[in-house]
Amino acid sequence: MMAMTEEETTGSAARNAAGLLLSGALGLFLLGVVTGIATNWISGDAVKIKAAIVFAICVPLGIASALGARHFLKKLNGGAVSSSTRKSRLAVQLAIAAGVLGGMAAGITNAFGMEFALFSNAPAPALAVISLIAVWCLLAPALSIMWWRHIDEHEKAAYSSSALIALNAYSIITPGWWLLWRGGMAPAVDPMIVFLSVITLWGAVWMVRRYA
């Protein structure tokens, strides 16, 4: 096996990262569509023929997107890996799987009359809240620790510097929004919007630092 040139490595890494982002985003979007239609089905609402066609198209496309994302991820990671890389990758994959399953479960619980939307400020059923707290406060830290213990110093540096940027973004967004609210120029601060914005920024910067 001969090494690629620097330009080849950087160029193909950028292409593969872009492919991973696009196929991952498409896969998540399709998953949302499929979950929405499945929710209607389960709840017994009439599913129109158009929705059934969309469902039939979205399922194979979603599977293709997931396979595409896997393909780009494999190319990005470059074949054989060290044992610690394998373990850290397993933690990330478990976290993604838990997130996807959690998102689908949150969507489908609507079908059982729980009237629970994950990303909203509406009151939620106690059982769902307790389950989510258990997952978020136990599973997430466990996976984070497992991941952190097995990543290499380059990934740790990428994670730490992106965390610092996210923290700075948080310290700008929250007081800024709060002041706008006090001045009557914006609605009250929504903690989930702030949280999701900061987490998204954190993840995006981490990805650029790690793969670009």
């Binding site: 001969m2 490595t9 890494a13 470059g78 054989a80 890996v81 044992s83 110093e153 380059h154």
Partner: protein
């Protein structure tokens, strides 16, 4: 920091993934070190030096004599 990692690796006909496995890091870490985007820690620099049976300063150059 400049380094000769890419040359040393190429001399042995190792891919970045091959070197990554030998150093127990990710391929991205090897790429980042080779391209100067990441300076390795001392422990990793020692591992690299040991792997190539060289001194650290024979591989890494901070630009000062």
């Amino acid at each position: 920091m400049n380094n000769r990692l890419r040359v040393l690796r190429a001399e042995r006909q190792w891919s970045q993934a091959d070197l990554a496995i030998r150093l127990d890091v990710s391929r991205q870490a090897v790429n980042a070190i080779e391209t100067g985007k990441h300076d390795p820690s001392l422990p990793l620099a020692f591992r690299i030096a040991r792997l190539f049976d060289m001194k650290i300063e024979e591989i890494f150059d901070d630009g000062h004599d």
